[in-house]
């Protein structure tokens, strides 16, 4: 018998299976049809991305102060540079921008704290973010207390206003949404039908008509001597709209909790509010976070509509800057900048929600 006591040394896999060439063959050129598609795809990339990169980076002007500094045929980012502080703060007085800056810093710190799973004290931070922070933000932004000069809401704008509309709309809609979702699952017929009608009404009409309604009809609904700020009117409309969408997300989360949980709580003698507040909602809310983030993304994009009723959010202020006679003809740059800002926010939020979905996905995948 022949024994070979030594192990045969490992040999690398054949060249036809590994390496970039094999990858190309497996993923791009396996078969004539796929090769054709690859070639078409390459041509598309050449057609779209090459001129875009040339325009945005290679042939672009970056520094300067006026349109005379835009000499090359590419993009003129000087325009965005010159208007940058307006795009972020709107018409907020420039010597007071430290106030929004503090709020921006606090806002992003809170968001990061809540989003990163490792950091402790989530519950307290969330309570602070939902209850105390909005008050601090209002006092600091609006002024009038502690010797701060008053900055009327008509001067708020830009990215600051966009974030403000989206987050305030969201925070205000959360409790209303929870109430509506619970009401829609209620066994009391009048409560249930009231909630169904409320939700379906606000979900059935476009946000723009709600904003029109808030800005035109709301003053008619109130006694003549009460005058509501235009920003508050928009916020009321956005909150009503958002709470209906939120209610549906929350209802979906509630439905995912097995009925046994509530029945067990009832068997322990808990009242309705204890059953909901201590057993069902904590479990459901955790599962709803991806859905809530998704509705927040749509709300964030939808806040651009407030420019139609005369508020200057990020898109509104860009649009206004484009009609400045000193900077005519830079609409592409303005829109690309605004699109980039919105894209960064929405894309990172949607990635976060996908990450959460994967993390929370404990079900059985077939």
């Amino acid at each position: 018998m022949i024994h070979n006591r030594d192990m045969i040394p490992e040999r690398p896999a054949p060249k036809s299976v590994i390496g970039p060439l094999a990858w190309l063959r497996a993923n791009l050129f396996n078969g004539p049809i796929n090769s054709l598609f690859t070639l078409i795809g390459l041509y598309l990339v050449y057609l779209l991305f090459v001129p875009a990169i040339q325009w945005a980076f290679i042939n672009a002007d970056w520094i300067g102060t006026s349109r005379d500094d835009c000499s090359r045929e590419g993009a003129c980012w000087v325009f965005v540079n010159a208007r940058f502080s307006q795009f972020i703060y709107g018409l907020y007085p420039s010597e007071e921008t430290w106030r929004p800056n503090i709020i921006f810093a606090g806002f992003f710190t809170l968001i990061a704290w809540l989003a990163i799973p490792r950091l402790p004290l989530k519950r307290w931070v969330a309570a602070f973010a939902l209850l105390a922070f909005p008050v601090i933000a209002f006092v600091l932004l609006h002024g009038g207390y502690f010797n701060l000069t008053v900055v009327p809401t008509s001067q708020w704008g830009g990215l600051m206003l966009t974030l403000l509309l989206a987050t305030v709309g969201m925070i205000a809609a959360l409790p209303i949404g929870i109430m509506l979702a619970l009401g829609r699952r209620s066994e009391m017929p009048i409560v249930k039908s009231f909630c169904v009608v409320f939700i379906e009404f606000w979900r059935g009409v476009p946000l723009i008509t709600i904003l029109f309604m808030a800005s035109v009809m709301l003053p008619l609904f109130l006694p003549g001597d009460i005058n509501i700020d235009r920003l508050v009117r928009a916020l009321i409309g956005i909150t009503l709209f958002q709470s209906a969408y939120m209610a549906e997300v929350i209802r979906g989360g509630l439905q995912a909790i097995p009925k046994g949980q509530e029945e067990a709580a009832a068997a322990l003698g808990m009242t309705y509010w204890k059953r909901m507040g201590l057993i069902v909602l904590p479990q459901a809310l955790k599962m709803m976070i991806p859905g809530i983030v998704n509705t927040f993304i749509s709300l964030f994009k939808d806040t651009t509509l407030v420019m139609i009723i005369g508020l200057f959010d990020l898109l509104g202020i860009v649009q206004a800057a484009l009609s400045d006679s000193r900077w005519l003809g830079f609409s592409l740059e303005g829109y690309v900048f605004a699109a980039f800002m919105f894209w960064i926010f929405c894309f990172s939020m949607s990635r976060y929600s996908q990450y959460l979905e994967r993390k929370l996905h404990t079900g059985h995948r077939n």
């Binding site: 993923n27 791009l28 396996n30 796929n34 598609f37 690859t38 795809g41 390459l42 598309l44 990339v45 066994e187 009391m188 017929p189 009048i190 409560v191 009231f194 379906e200 009404f201 979900r203 059935g204 009409v205 476009p206 946000l207 723009i208 008509t209 029109f212 309604m213 035109v216 009809m217 003053p219 008619l220 609904f221 109130l222 006694p223 003549g224 993304i297 994009k301 939808d302 651009t304 509509l305 420019m307 139609i308 898109l315 649009q319 484009l322 609409s331 592409l332 829109y335 605004a338 699109a339 919105f342 894209w343 929405c346 894309f347 949607s350 077939n366």
Partner: protein
């Protein structure tokens, strides 16, 4: 933990606040009172405000002369027409951009969604770039982009871009040849309808025969041939009773043909491209939701690849796809109200915009506008409920 409780003497009823039914009744009565009080407060205030401003309520204004023109209308309209007609023109324009938007968004969305699952790495990446780019940018921004940055910067009518001397594109819009139907053309749509009816009959017959005998004919292809071939044959047999009116440059503008205004083009492009990115995701997740075991089982039965797709994957994927798809269609129609930002004469723009400003009848105008969208929503959700009940899995 010990709970002290004294048993209630027999025959004594619990106090009313411990009785669930009574508590529910009281709570609901309170709710009704609160809502009614709120409504009364609003109505009272509104009446005071309206009488103060001298606005009369009612729908009488609908028969007044509007006095403004509309750049695009599907029915006869002039500045002498009434506000009621303005409403109809706006509604039709909304439905036009909505319908064409749904069509284009479906085509782009399904193509991109399937491309996203392509084994070809490059194609899948490109589809992903499309989806992630367009769904993360606000729709209004995209509408502005197409309108102000693309279509408004096109050359003037004299230097317009020509596609084969028939289609022209310039800053004033897109000019297409218009078909002029001669007498005898009515036969072609008639044959078209007949062909559709025949194909439906063929499908039903094929399905019954398949269930009874196991044999099937390629009814899908046959009906495609029927629906497009038959009218074509009739068209040629009757000697093509259509002439095309070409757009022609006269002076500073084009005359003749169909004019597509740039507002429509911008809105339609933005709506279709934006919604398509959502539809693509729906299609992708719908196809991925079909478990791999289904495909493998079909392969084990030695079904060919096209039949696996047609009989196993697509019917099951459609069950997952259609509910979110309809809600995207609904979103598209609601989003078409953004037309007002660039001046496309849709319902919100001409009615909740111009008419409201001219008449001051805020309540009636906004209520009518909302009612239109609510009706569309309700119709769609009724369809959804019907569809869900029809395709719902009957589980153990």
């Amino acid at each position: 933990m010990s709970v002290k409780s004294t048993p209630r003497p027999a025959g004594q009823k619990p106090p009313f606040w411990r009785d669930r039914a009574k508590r529910a009744l009281i709570f609901q009565l309170l709710l009704i009172t609160a809502v009614a009080a709120f409504l009364l407060y609003i109505v009272g205030n509104t009446q005071d405000n309206l009488s103060e401003r001298g606005i009369t309520t009612g729908f009488g204004f609908l028969s007044n002369t509007a006095g403004f023109g509309i750049v695009q209308s599907l029915i006869d309209y002039s500045s002498q027409s009434t506000y009621g007609r303005t409403f109809v023109v706006g509604l039709l324009n909304t439905l036009l951009v909505g319908g064409l938007g749904v069509l284009a968004a479906t085509i782009i969305g399904f193509t991109v969604g399937i491309a996203r699952l392509s084994p070809n790495w490059l194609i899948a990446r490109l589809a992903n770039v499309y989806i992630e780019t367009f769904r993360n940018i606000p729709l209004l921004l995209q509408i502005f982009f197409w309108y102000f940055a693309v279509l408004r910067t096109l050359p003037s009518a004299r230097e317009s871009m020509a596609f084969g001397e028939a289609i022209f594109l310039n800053v004033r819009g897109l000019y297409l040849p218009q078909p002029l139907f001669e007498s005898g053309f009515g036969l072609i749509p008639a044959t078209f309808l007949v062909a559709i009816a025949a194909s439906i009959a063929l499908m039903i017959w094929n399905k019954r025969r398949h269930e009874a005998t196991g044999k099937r004919i390629p009814a899908g292809w046959l009906s495609l041939v029927l629906i497009f071939g038959l009218p074509l044959v009739v068209l040629i047999a009757t000697g093509v009773p259509v002439t095309w009116e070409m757009p022609e440059l006269r002076g500073f503008n084009f005359r003749g043909g169909i004019t597509v205004i740039p507002e429509f083009l911008a809105l339609w492009l933005a709506l279709s491209i934006y919604t398509a990115s959502f539809i693509a995701e729906i299609v992708r997740s719908g196809i991925q939701a079909i478990s791999h075991g289904q495909t493998e089982a079909a392969q084990a039965l030695s079904l060919p690849r096209n039949l696996i797709l047609k009989l196993i994957v697509i019917p099951q994927a459609m069950r997952v796809i259609i509910p979110p798809l309809t809600s995207q269609y609904l979103n598209l129609i609601k989003n078409s109200s953004l037309a007002t930002a660039i001046g496309y004469p849709d319902l919100v723009s001409v009615f909740a915009g111009t008419t409201l400003n001219q008449t001051g009848q805020a309540i009636e105008v906004i209520a009518m506008t909302m009612a239109v969208y609510l009706t569309i929503s309700l119709l769609v959700s009724m369809f959804m409920n019907w569809f869900n009940a029809r395709v719902a899995l009957v589980e153990r």
